[in-house]
């Protein structure tokens, strides 16, 4: 196990480094001169040079890169060109929306997918199993923004139970903040749950046909015990892998859902900064999201080692 952890950790650090270099070069390569990109096509040469000097954009690339990375490690994500605000402060308040949104969506998705997928697998020869599989297909086909709009129409506009959008701060009105998040979380969770249901279903179907489940039954486990103690334990391996892969998709979903529900989250901030050509802010926040996705996948890998002795002991 220690060797396995060390390997995965080394791989994680290497991947983060590679991603940071890639992001840095992509931003530099995309628009040519960063200062020119920021100032737009009408800017004068003097203005561009002045901005380049002010932000050190005229230095050699490796110096700029290590300066950026060094600042990231110190928690300094740079400053906005326009407002001169430190990005870090902005990001922290935005994360207080995006992280609960993302994690609650994930948890809800799993809470939907694991029972629904399992139930559908166990009843695969009955109409109810087929119905769940069909609903899951429908859920996969529905775009997350559409789900958000429909939910908002029903619970926000028609019934008036929950806000259709907007945000109150956690500190000023905790329950108001929770209420603002309910519909976005349900939208994300439903859509994620729909696609995960399909994976859970096929994982459980596969596992329940394995000889070792038959052995479990032959040694006295009821169908339910064999499912819960042997089946799901083994099905957890492929499911964990898929959850890791779905994280990136989930974050893509938050960009859309934050827009639909007018939540001032991190994803919307990136979108706004792209539009405003805040190159350095975009570079830092995208890096932050990449690290988050990789971290989740690192956790999934480590979990895999815990769940599967074959992984832990042979690699």
């Amino acid at each position: 196990m220690p060797v396995y952890i060390a390997r995965k950790l080394a791989f994680f650090l290497l991947a983060v480094f590679a991603a940071s270099v890639l992001i840095f070069l992509l931003i530099r390569g995309a628009g040519g001169n960063v200062a020119a990109v920021i100032l737009g096509k009408d800017a004068t040469a003097e203005a561009i040079n002045a901005l380049s000097r002010q932000y050190g954009l005229d230095r050699p690339l490796p110096v700029q890169y290590f300066d950026w990375i060094g600042n990231l490690f110190r928690g300094d994500l740079g400053r906005s060109f326009r407002t001169n605000e430190p990005v870090t402060d902005l990001v922290v308040s935005r994360l207080s929306i995006s992280i609960p949104l993302c994690l609650s969506g994930l948890v809800l998705g799993l809470l939907i997918a694991i029972p629904a997928g399992t139930y559908s697998a166990l009843n695969s020869d009955k109409p109810v199993g087929a119905l769940i599989a069909l609903l899951s297909q429908v859920g996969i086909a529905v775009p997350v923004f559409w789900a958000g709009i429909l939910l908002s129409l029903l619970f926000g506009v028609r019934l008036g139970w929950l806000p259709t959008g907007g945000w109150t701060n956690w500190d000023s009105n905790f329950w108001g903040a929770v209420r603002s998040l309910v519909l976005p979380v349900i939208s994300l969770g439903l859509i994620l749950g729909a696609s995960l249901t399909r994976y859970v279903r096929s994982a459980v179907l596969d596992v329940m046909n394995q000889d070792y489940v038959r052995t479990a039954r032959a040694t006295g486990m009821t169908r339910m015990q064999a499912l819960l103690r042997v089946g799901l334990r083994n099905a957890a391996l492929p499911i964990a892998t898929v959850v890791g892969l779905q994280i990136a998709e989930l974050i893509g979903g938050t960009v859309i859902i934050e827009t639909v529900f007018s939540l001032p989250g991190l994803s919307r901030m990136i979108l706004a900064n792209v539009a405003a050509r805040e190159v350095i802010v975009v570079q830092s926040t995208v890096m932050l999201i990449i690290v988050f996705v990789m971290l989740v996948n690192l956790i999934v890998d480590l979990l895999y080692g815990v769940l599967d002795p074959r992984v832990r002991l042979t690699r």
Binding site: D125, D211, Y212, R214, R217, A218, G220, M221, L307, L313
Partner: protein, 327 residues
């Protein structure tokens, strides 16, 4: 009845929808007895075993009676059956490679069975598991108990499976081709172990195999299955020395021995012409008639039952012409 039966099967029919894989099978294994069930793939012998265990695939149904320990197993709920599986009736499967839970230590898997059925603490169950592993001739049992299935050999896995099946001193063990997936060199060891261990525990054994010498060495009686029916049934010595059904005789004649095998092409090894019929196209009358050398019109139209000869055949093989005994 002087000797109670470990299991008695009466008119067992196993099928899915309109198809039947087992078509009216009756036999009994006396307590501490050992019976062999022989047949080619598709003869219904594995389906018979799964029906006895109550572990048929989804959609499959069993009719008839399976009397065991004073109850008809076919009438029990899954829960009631579960409390018997692994305790009074247990099974050793064909493929030990895939039959153990890959994410649980093998010692724990044995201990689980003991803990589930014997009402002992986890610690006691674990101690008993180590004990059992010692009796299964497994090397360094304490250490091996902590291994996961992928870390041990096929022969060791099958010994673990046998330990699990024997753990609660069952009245009957069903072994379905227990050595087919193993190396030839360990097959004999595992069979010897299964033989000795079931005798020590006074468990009856139902040995399912297509390997006739194994039956000859281990069993008292043998039933030969063909196309879902028992076509011949009797003491091993009698059936193998003087087979009365032409299918049994064909099986015995197709056993390779040093005498009938030759590498120069002049092999005298016999084979039964034709193939086992598929379930959806069973021949009328005696299902074996298209492949039988002695078939007549009567065989085509009416199905024979087992009679005093021990065979279900209208024209049994004459006793005067004994086939070569299985080696």
């Amino acid at each position: 009845m002087s000797v109670p039966n470990a299991i008695e099967v009466v008119d067992l029919v196993v099928g899915v929808d309109e198809l039947s894989a087992v078509r009216g099978v009756s036999f009994a294994v006396p307590a501490r007895g050992r019976m062999g069930l022989v047949g080619e793939s598709g003869s219904g012998k594995s389906m018979t075993a799964m029906a006895l265990m109550g572990l048929l695939p989804p959609g499959w149904q069993a009719r008839g009676r399976v009397l065991h320990d004073g109850v008809d197993l076919l009438t029990l709920s899954d829960k009631a059956l579960s409390s018997r599986r692994g305790r009074t009736i247990s099974m050793v499967f064909q493929d030990p490679m895939s039959s153990l839970n890959p994410v649980r230590r093998v010692g724990d898997q044995i201990a689980d069975v003991i803990h589930r059925h014997m009402g002992v603490t986890r610690r006691a169950a674990h101690a008993q598991a180590i004990d059992l592993m010692t009796q299964m001739n497994l090397p360094r049992p304490e250490q091996l108990a902590r291994a996961f299935p992928h870390q041990i050999s096929g022969g060791q896995k099958q010994r673990i499976m046998i330990a699990m099946a024997l753990a609660c001193y069952p009245q009957l063990i069903i072994a379905d081709e227990p050595t087919t997936a193993l190396d030839v060199t360990v097959q004999k060891q595992v069979l010897r172990l299964l033989n000795a261990a079931t005798r020590e525990r006074n468990s009856a054994l139902l040995m399912i195999t297509h390997d006739l010498p194994v039956i000859a060495a281990m069993c008292d009686t043998v039933a030969v299955m063909y196309a879902g029916r028992i076509v011949e049934h009797g003491p091993v010595q009698k059936v193998f020395r003087t087979p009365r059904h032409h299918y049994t005789r064909g099986l015995l004649d197709s056993q390779p021995t040093m005498d009938n095998i030759a590498l120069d092409g002049s092999s005298r090894l016999h084979s039964i012409p034709g193939m086992v019929p598929p379930l959806h196209a069973l021949p009328s009358g005696c299902a074996f008639h298209p492949r039988c050398p002695a078939a007549t019109d009567r065989c085509r139209t009416s199905m024979p039952e087992i009679d005093a000869t021990g065979a279900a055949c209208w024209h049994p093989v004459p006793v005067a012409a004994p086939a070569e005994a299985a080696s």
